[in-house]
Symmetry: C2
Subunit: 397 residues, 2 copies
Amino acid sequence: MTDFAATKAMFHLPKGVIYLDGNSLGPLPKSAPNRVTKTVQDEWGEMLITGWNKAGWMAQPSNIGDRIARLIGAEKGHVVMGDTLSIKVYQALASALEMRPDRKVILSDNGNFPTDLYMAEGLIGSLGRQHQLKTPAHGDVADHINEDLAVLMLTEVDYRTGQKHNMKALTEKAHAAGALVIWDLAHSAGALPVDLAGCNADFAVGCTYKYLNGGPGAPAFIYVAPRHVANVRPALSGWLGHAAPFAFDLNYAAGSGIERMRVGTPPVLQMAALEEALDIWDMADMADVRAKSIALCDRFIAGVEASCPTLKLASPRDGAQRGSQVSFHFDNGYPAMQALIARGVIGDFRAPDIMRFGFTPLYIDEGDVDAAVAIIADVMGNDLWDTDEYKQRSRVT
Amino acid sequence: MTDFAATKAMFHLPKGVIYLDGNSLGPLPKSAPNRVTKTVQDEWGEMLITGWNKAGWMAQPSNIGDRIARLIGAEKGHVVMGDTLSIKVYQALASALEMRPDRKVILSDNGNFPTDLYMAEGLIGSLGRQHQLKTPAHGDVADHINEDLAVLMLTEVDYRTGQKHNMKALTEKAHAAGALVIWDLAHSAGALPVDLAGCNADFAVGCTYKYLNGGPGAPAFIYVAPRHVANVRPALSGWLGHAAPFAFDLNYAAGSGIERMRVGTPPVLQMAALEEALDIWDMADMADVRAKSIALCDRFIAGVEASCPTLKLASPRDGAQRGSQVSFHFDNGYPAMQALIARGVIGDFRAPDIMRFGFTPLYIDEGDVDAAVAIIADVMGNDLWDTDEYKQRSRVT
């Protein structure tokens, strides 16, 4: 059983703050400052260039990848770190499209995080605009899976509503139609159990600064299924993905496995912070995290609905259909969220009208939920929310 | 006049080490540990998600870009940070090729750093293999510029020999033939004066962990000439390059200027360290750096040639033709460099037979050069270098 009091004690949480935005940027592991200082002073400062081997910097993208693999149900040796999530989306999509050269449809949904769609758009432009990107509503995705489909590319958990896709069912349906599937785990990794191997996912990507608590600018990860990796052509064929980076050959030869998805020099200081966050994750069982996450979300929904009739639930009521966040619709959501932040309840606003709150059992408990609900009830009880001033503030953002 | 004693005092240089590998990874600015700690504890720890605005993280890629612009002769507002140099090469090349749709030749040279060639190869693969990448020898590049050429893509300073290209002359010749030019400044930024605007360069890219001393994994930069930027289609069209990233539109609309070359979340901890390094650069005049760099390199060449007849100069003898490094050919270069490193003289080895030493006036002075020469003479005087044991060690690397 995961000891959530112990994990909570390992984070620095500012006084007077109830942090319900770990789904945007996780908080600081208490051990991270010393570790980063050690990396800066003892590794960079003392080892200089030899740190790449002596301090193990060069191997970190794979070593950290293995630690994340455990949290997302990936086979060991098939996840590697680097770049940003946007770049990893591009890498996965470029490789996947080449594996289905006769098909020209990419299917996503209109709730996908925009950068995934933008990166797809950019790639389509480079590939000569022969591909079509379809973005139906969340519930209509399955109906668009047919034998024209090259790649299904979805974020498992909708960043606005928290609504989950059925990863296993959609992957099966796409495979039955002969398509490949890329899962973006931005709001899944560390939020709920993921079983990439069990779902037969082809590719997956994700970031580490949200639920994984790796810090601002922490690197992204990419997964390629073992059955594919030897045949994947890396479109972003950088030297650290080369079979022999230090041979300095003029021609590219892809590394033997997931290493080929590395591109350039990894961010050593960011990786140091991320490793400290993963030490806390080593104390956690994802099934426990999920059970507590659903309980916290349910408690929050009940509390807010009982006290704030103007807020309309935007997330699924059924915990099994949600990620680890709860969202409400509110016309004046932007200034209302600013008012909450001023009172120490940090969530975030997503256009056009979503007030979003993330629940992260590693450091948020029932007491935090109850305290947050009380403050939200107090702030939302302010009848200013219907005045023109607030409506105006809402519109200009 | 730059006060090099003052700049040297601002770096941490380990005891017993003469660091001639700042062309691979620059040393630690003494102020960087405190700054990084402040960013971790006071910004990430206390501000959490609000750090993106309150601590200015979101604006850093452009603000830092402006500080680097001064060092490379770029117009203010036309350099932005992010990703790795490999990714920035891909971005620049993808955009440039689209600006010359009827031409299918990319010209580089066989001394370019391999990742530039690999990224080009990867892009050519995605574009349908219609383009040809030519890599003649350094001195033959100009002869290959003709009206078939789409993009000339060169690293100004050869990473092995330190030999410089003539940026202005080659850019002019390429433009006269109707081609575009991308300059990789990996071994130029902070090494010698660069005048991107004066040379009419179209694109430039570079890294910040070498001469600029930004630390392991520091982000790369990209420059797009003011006359082009509004017409550049970003192939890597990430959300932070969008005209309105937080509007979360489903369709991409490129940002108004160089901001469109941003992709995903920037590495906040790395940027903090880099800013400290740039504070030292603010004390330096590039003309002074260049004059001292040439003097140090000349002094090193004279000293080594006088004492080590087995080492054959691989760099141009004329300082005006060199970057800020000196390389020697030596068959047993790999074990010889290991022996030097064991004695505290840190340079590096580049296959097949290059012993490479970087000279960085901000923290290397004449006394360091003389001390390094004495140690090299002592180590190279060891007659073991001709034995089979060393030849064997050299071959297996």
